[in-house]
């Protein structure tokens, strides 16, 4: 009965979405308050019904209802409860249901918490959001129904792919989708503004919290995905420029550009049409990602099951939404007025260059990802575009950006004194170079690119700290004064400093773990010992350990350094009988300085000694800086999100304040 309720709820949600896509839009055009307000109820209803459907699917997983095809294909009675629940979104249909749920939640968010947004804009935004919902709900119901049944029910399910049976799986998709799909509301705001024909500083202010929320979530989702790949896949890597990774990264790049461009629109009324374009393109890339992952157009380790019919449907949705919005943009955007003027050296100019570099970076990733497809279509040749291309073209674009990030916060609006800023930063520049040279010496001549990156990361970290210290007059005034200033500084300022610092730290992690990784691969029998990165690792054999739905061979590795015991690692090799596949669970010792990373596997070579295992140990310096930096990025965003100014509301027209006061607040000099 529950699956039927779920399906029915989805249909109801679709009906409400259809209503929401029409009524409020017409209401806004005619000034009909009732119609505009209807969006609130339909948004609530939609979110409610989709949530019911989601809960219905989740319940089917929890009780292991094998009459539901989706549960059969992605679960098993022996599976741990966490993965039964997570299996809800482990398949194409389930993850799409999650997609639609988040779409509805964001719509509801605007309906409930957007009271400071003018009624007409809010109504139009919710209508546009509903258009997207209609598209995806119908896609779900018509081609990817998660509630399909099978009778008679099989005795047991075929188990969730063992690779996915991991804590990381439980969190990665919801977080990622919250970001990915969250940009939909920003898209809706942009299209609504285009329809209304007005974009101004106030619009940028209203859109900001939603952009931030989506961006924070996407940052966390991507970082979590990388972290999961790192400890689960066993080769110590955390990014492979795989198409599915790329399609989550592109919205992040454009979302970051959007965040920065919107600041200019908010503060100075400039870059309006550009901000609108970014708002549309960010979500467009999310949609593109959804298409690529589910259509089988590109090969990838992450892709869902291939089905061209679904691909056509999604492509149709893409055509309508992206094509429609960009056509609207081409028509309406030219009429938007330009904003404040600024000098070639100013904060506006800095942010413009920031946007240029981020957009070019996203363009490179997009072109590289799609090139094999394009080439095959044009000439029939098949080539591969992998990490060597992306690293060679992406990194050189990012390096100048990191350098400029150090200077940016110092720039003032309209016109800035570059020479003064550079003078102030000269000492920091020297320190950065010295530290970089120091690391070159320590690592006995690392690759040049790594040394340059270290210099830039240190530069960014110190420049950000310097700017923050200057703002609160740290060391330049009594501590109490500095604390007072820090308290009065808008949270967004702290947020920016924290986020930029986080980026710097993450870069140190990127460089350390890629450039100075060391590795040992040996056959081991109980008692053998190997030496890596100053550690001695002794293999003490394996034992058979049963798990809930697997059998594992667990190895014991005793790690010492100069005779002093450091830790014991227990890597495992797990065999899942239902899915008939094996996974490697690595054992990692994490410290700030680096990770000691061990994994065991059975030797592939014939004639290997009986009882021998292949042991792989990696030492990854500074790798944890990546995760720490990412967390700081998210905290920085969170701080900005909690800024009071975003909640006070839209800037009110001055006329109101004057009426309530007996004497004018500030009179021009007479």
């Amino acid at each position: 009965m529950t699956p039927e309720i779920g399906q029915f709820a989805l249909s109801l949600a679709l009906v409400l979405a259809v209503i929401q896509s029409i009524l409020p839009m017409f209401g806004a055009a005619r000034g009909n308050m009732l119609w505009m307000q209807s969006a609130r109820s339909t948004a609530l209803g939609q979110a409610l019904f989709v949530a019911v459907a989601f809960a219905a699917l989740m319940r089917s997983f929890i009780i292991s209802d094998f009459t539901v095809v989706n549960v059969v294909e992605n679960s098993n009675s022996l599976q741990p409860m966490l993965f039964k629940v997570a299996g809800t979104w482990g398949s194409h249909e389930g993850s799409l249901l999650l997609w639609v749920l988040i779409l509805a939640i964001f719509g509801l968010g605007v309906a409930l918490f957007g009271s400071n947004i003018p009624a007409a804009l809010r109504a139009r935004t919710l209508s546009v959001q509903a258009w997207i919902s209609v598209g995806f709900l119908s896609f779900l119901l018509l081609t990817s129904n998660p509630f399909e049944r099978v009778f008679p029910a099989p005795l047991d399910g075929t188990d969730l792919n063992p690779l996915l049976q991991d804590f990381g799986l439980a969190i990665h998709p919801p977080l990622l989708y919250f970001g990915y799909v969250g940009f939909s509301i920003v898209f809706s705001f942009a299209v609504a503004a285009l329809i209304e024909g007005r974009v101004d500083a106030a619009w940028a202010r209203w859109v900001r919290p939603w952009t931030l929320a989506a961006w924070i979530s996407l940052t966390a989702g991507i970082a979590l995905g990388s972290w999961w790949a790192y400890y689960e896949l066993g080769w110590g890597g955390w990014w492979f420029w795989d198409p599915v990774e790329n399609v989550s990264f592109m919205p992040w790049l454009l979302g970051t550009a959007l965040l920065h461009s919107a600041i200019v629109t908010e503060k100075r009324g400039a870059f309006k049409s550009w901000t609108i374009l970014l708002a549309i393109l960010t979500f467009s890339l999310s949609l593109l990602g959804t298409f690529i992952v589910r259509s089988g157009v590109l090969t990838s380790v992450h892709a869902f099951a291939v089905d061209p019919e679904r691909g056509f449907y999604i492509l149709g949705l893409l055509g309508l939404s992206i094509g429609g919005s960009l056509a609207l943009y081409a028509w309406r955007a030219p009429a938007m007025e330009g904003g404040g003027l600024f000098a070639p050296v100013s904060r506006e100019a800095g942010l413009l260059i920031n946007n240029l570099l981020l957009v070019v970076a996203a363009g490179i990733v997009l072109f590289g990802t799609l090139y094999p497809l394009i080439l095959e279509a044009v000439t029939g040749d098949k080539i591969s575009v992998g990490p060597p291309f992306f690293n060679a073209s992406f990194i050189p674009v990012m390096l100048p950006l990191i350098f400029l990030m150090g200077i940016g916060p110092f720039l003032s609006w309209k016109r800035a004194d570059l020479r003064g800023i550079l003078q102030r930063l000269a000492v920091i520049a020297v320190i950065s170079v010295l530290i970089a040279l120091g690391s070159w010496y320590l690592t006995t001549g690392g690759p040049a690119l790594a040394i340059i990156s270290i210099a830039l990361a240190i530069w960014l970290l110190l420049a950000t700290a310097r700017e923050w210290a200057m703002r609160i007059k740290l060391f330049n005034a009594p501590l109490a004064e500095s604390l007072r200033r820090a308290r009065n500084l808008p949270r967004a300022a702290h947020g920016m400093s924290l986020a930029h610092a986080g980026m710097a730290i993450a870069i140190l992690g990127f460089v350390g773990s890629s450039a100075w990784k060391s590795e040992e691969i040996v056959f081991v029998t109980p008692g053998s010992s190997i030496h890596i990165a100053g550690f001695d690792v002794r293999f003490d054999g394996t034992e058979r350990v049963p798990g809930p739905n697997y059998v594992a061979d667990r190895g014991t590795l005793v790690v010492t350094k100069d005779g002093v015991p450091v830790t014991t690692l227990y890597p495992e090799r797990r065999y899942y009988p239902v899915a008939q596949s094996t996974t490697t669970e690595s054992a990692i010792r994490q410290t700030l300085a680096g990770d000691l990373y061990a994994s065991l596997s059975t030797p592939a070579a014939e004639g290997a000694t009986e009882g021998a295992w292949t042991l792989r140990i990696l030492y990854e310096p500074l790798v944890n800086f990546i995760w720490i930096g990412s967390i700081l990025l998210c905290f920085g965003g969170g701080l900005s999100l909690s800024d009071r100014r975003l909640r006070i509301g839209a800037p009110r027209p001055k006329a109101k304040t004057r009426k309530t006061q007996s004497a004018p607040l500030a009179t021009p000099a007479e």
Partner: protein, 199 residues
Amino acid sequence: MKRLVFTLPIVIVLVLGGFLLWGLNPGRNPSEIPSVLISQPVPQFQLASIEGVGVPGLSTDDVAQAGEVVVVNVFASWCVPCRAEHAVLTRLVRQDGVRLMGINYKDKPEDARRWLDDLGNPYERIGSDLDGRAGIEWGISGVPETFIVGADGLVLFRYVGPVTGPKAEAKFMQALEQAQAQAIESAAEPAQAMAESSS
């Protein structure tokens, strides 16, 4: 001019969309690699025979110097689809008189022997590729794969996967017929010249 700039995004999107649409073509397999051997001479390889099977081993000359169209089939006893394909290949040899040669890919000799005893041996020659190196020379990415080599010693066609089912068989037969027609044509030319010079 300004208007033109604003239409740029949608133009780019439409172009990319066109490519994505092309990519959805159901006949397309994104992970299939086109063979670089087509229209190239047979690769260099030399394989010993499988003991006890009764047919000699296989090397480049056996395929290239045969003087007629040869079908080279890469198979293994551990390859499940190969069993189904075996019947089709046997029919080709018996009914159509196709010259069939095999490469036994990464198979233990006793397993291959057993498999051939079980199903029968349609192969004129079989090379035992124990380490898979010959397979790499032929650029294979899996088993089974079947090649059609023309009478002139050039590789004309490659089929990935088992040649089973009406579509696959039709495609393969078409390529085979083309290869044979080509062989007859090039054989006819010197004969024609001789006829002309003698009259």
